[in-house]
Amino acid sequence: MMGNKSRMVLCVDDEAVGLRVRKLLLERAGYQVLTAIDGYSGLELFAAHPVEAVVLDYSMPGMHGGEVASRMRQTKPEIPILLLSAYVGLPDEVSSLVDIYMTKGEGAPALLDKLDSLLSVPAASD
């Protein structure tokens, strides 16, 4: 994994343990990671920091991932969003809001690959 240069990634998930482990994983892969435990604080961080990608959990209390994604699109639509879900099969209107949709349990390599591809695409190919 080259050329990450401490990209800032925002992780939003209501599962504390999962969030912590994901943060560890991404930091080990060279990302700078911000975490939020729910949609509201996630949106705050999104607005306040130069986040370059979002790893978003779908099922959260209060505001679910789809809604968070749609709000993010309203403010900074160019920022790629990766939606993580424990469910298989989300409604189309949700999956169309995000750039990539994947399920938990696909494994760490899959997550890192997809995140990398998201961050590579807008820039000129490496």
Binding site: D14, E15, V17, G18, V21, R22, L24, L25, R28, S59, M60, P61, A86, Y87, V88, T103, K104, G105, G107, A108, P109, L111
Partner: protein
């Protein structure tokens, strides 16, 4: 208009009968009177005849006398005098008789005659006889002439009498004839008029009777018509009732079956009539297949409206089966005696299937809701474990490794617990087994931990360890999941849910348990807004929900069904105001329940 009254009719009849009788009597009276009248006249005529006869007789005697005299005069033989002598007595008698019956005007003549006769007798006849007897001569013309004159005069008087009588006789006859004519006319007139009167009267009366009779008939006709209409109406109503209706006589033999009853039982009305009901309406208990007391027998026994037990199967004539629901009632007459029994029943097979389908659906819905939670609960920890393994593989310090492994371990434990709980949720048992309430509730609470966390609800549990009851674990889990979920959702963000198990040994009275059975109460309390009274009464109805589109509304209904099957109760207490607002659901479960198969 009133109909024919018997009293009035009798009176009319009497009148109509009496009148002619009276009329006839009257006519008879008139007739008798007339006949008497004419009899009198005839009597008078007879009298005249008698007078004439008498007068004639007298004249004959006088002539006899003269003849005798002349004979004697001629022959001087006393034998020729005999007629003269013989005539005396009869003539006296006749004269006497005539005298007694002479009319005033005749009396004069008669008197004169008598005088003349006397004179002739004394002055002429006797002297003559004496003369002749003495041998003298009687040829004197003057003497004879006076004699003849006297004789003529006597005759004249007699003739006058006769004439008078004859005249009278003629008059009387004319009178009699006139009388007869009058009588005839009178009788004819009377007969005609009386006849007319009787006729008119009778006609009038009989007309009245006929009119009254006609009204009676009309009334009968109208009543029959009304009765017919009413019967038709009832018949149509009976035929239109969508349930089966069977009526029986008090002895329990079938009298009437409507179409639906015929269809449902498989018997036609004609086949079924007069058979005992249990032949036609063969019902058994669904589970035991034992015959069930049919409603008619029950009505006969209890003499009131009855329903039958649930889960009754009707065995039709061809052997096929239907689930039915029915009721029976006595039919009473005006005196209150039972004159028959009516039974109404309907096919509830579809209804039961629908219910079963709804129940199955609810189970699926619950499963669906749980599936979402479970997917969440399993995938999240597994995801973390995968990430941790990756990290361990890609260079971790000794210390980090320890940490990572520990986290992974705990996450896997969680997964195992959840999956075990989830799997056992759907394993059905055939017979009730002992269920440790603490174990079951602990599992459920663990399963729902994620949910509680999402909702922001804190949960506390007070579960004594050795409380067990017999039941079907899968179903009980379904109930408690439902109740705890409701409580959590009601409590909401910042709220709390308390789960408690209270053992209830035998002998303790409880307000809502029907018997003093030993068992346990599971109490689930939340401090949410509570249930308003208007919602409270609908709580256990299927399809009633306060969760809008999210709830199917079947939860409490199903839960109640399951608890009832376990011969237990659900009781809900709630407060909407005050500091202790919230809802407490108490579920009583008997330790050794008599399972109410299909109890709903």
């Amino acid at each position: 208009m009133e109909g024919l009254e018997l009293r009035k009719f009798k009176r009319t009849l009497t009148q109509v009968l009496i009148l002619p009788i009276i009329a006839c009597l009257f006519l008879a009276g008139v007739l008798v009177w007339q006949i008497r009248g004419s009899n009198l006249t005839v009597g008078l005529i007879d009298q005249s005849d008698r007078r004439i006869a008498l007068a004639t007789n007298i004249e004959t005697r006088v002539v006899d006398e003269e003849t005798g005299l002349r004979g004697y005069q001629t022959t001087s033989d006393p034998r020729f005098l005999r007629p003269y002598r013989d005539a005396e007595a009869p003539m006296q008698r006749a004269v006497a008789a005539l005298q007694s019956m002479a009319r005033p005007e005749q009396e004069q003549s008669l008197k004169q005659f008598i005088e003349e006769h006397q004179t002739w007798h004394e002055a002429f006849a006797e002297p003559l006889i004496a003369t002749i007897a003495a041998g003298g001569q009687t040829n004197d013309v003057d003497l004879n002439l006076t004699g003849v004159e006297r004789m003529d005069s006597m005759r004249e008087h007699l003739h006058a009498i006769v004439k008078a009588s004859e005249q009278r006789r003629t008059d009387r006859i004319a009178e009699w004839q006139a009388q007869m004519r009058h009588v005839l006319i009178l009788l004819i007139v009377l007969a005609l008029s009386i006849g007319l009167i009787i006729g008119l009267f009778t006609r009038n009366r009989l007309k009245g009777v006929s009119t009254a009779f006609r009204h009676s008939l009309d009334l009968q006709q109208r009543r029959a018509e009304e009765l017919f209409q009413s019967e038709q109406h009832l018949r149509t109503t009976l035929a239109s009732i969508a349930d089966g209706v069977i009526t029986c006589d008090p002895g329990g033999s079938v009298q009437l079956m409507n179409l639906v009853a015929q269809e449902l039982t498989g018997w036609t009305e004609s086949q079924a009539r007069d058979r005992p009901l249990h032949e036609v309406f063969h019902i058994v208990n669904e589970a035991t297949r034992q015959p069930v007391e049919n409603p008619v027998v029950k009505v006969q026994r209890l003499n009131r409206v009855v329903g039958i037990a649930n889960h009754t199967l009707l065995i039709r004539k061809d052997g096929s089966e239907l689930s039915i629901d029915d009721s029976g009632a006595p039919i009473r007459n005006a005196a209150g005696e039972m004159t028959g029994i009516v039974m109404v029943f309907r096919d509830i097979t579809m209804e039961r299937r629908t219910r079963a389908a709804l129940l199955a659906n609810e189970k699926l819905a619950v499963a669906g809701r749980l599936a979402a939670t479970i997917a969440h609960e399993i995938h999240n920890p597994l995801d973390s474990v995968a990430n941790l393994l990756y990290l361990l593989q890609n260079g971790a310090t000794q210390e980090e490794s320890q940490q990572f492994l520990q986290i992974a371990q705990s996450e896997l434990t969680r997964v195992t617990q959840i999956s075990r709980a989830m799997l056992s949720l759907y394993r059905e048992s055939k017979a009730p087994v002992p269920v440790n309430l603490k174990e079951m509730l602990d599992e459920l609470l663990l399963l729902m931990e994620g949910r509680f966390h999402s909702l922001g609800v804190s949960v506390s549990a007070n579960l004594p360890p050795e409380v067990a009851i017999d039941g079907f674990p899968a179903e009980l889990r379904q109930v408690f999941t439902n109740l705890i979920t409701n409580a959590a959702e009601a409590a909401g963000e910042g709220g709390s849910v308390a789960v408690r198990v209270i053992p209830r040994p035998a002998g303790l009275l409880s307000p809502f348990a029907e018997a003093q059975e030993p068992g346990a109460i599971v109490e689930i309390a939340d401090n949410g807004p509570g249930i308003p009274p208007e919602v409270h009464e609908h709580l256990f109805q299927p399809f009633f929900t306060t969760k809008g589109e999210r709830g199917t509304g079947l939860g409490l209904w199903v839960s109640q069904g399951i608890i009832r099957k376990h011969a237990g109760n659900i009781d809900i207490a709630s407060k909407t105001v005050g500091p202790n607002h919230g809802t407490t659901v108490s579920v009583f479960l008997a330790s050794k329940p008599i399972i109410n198969a299909g109890g709903d």
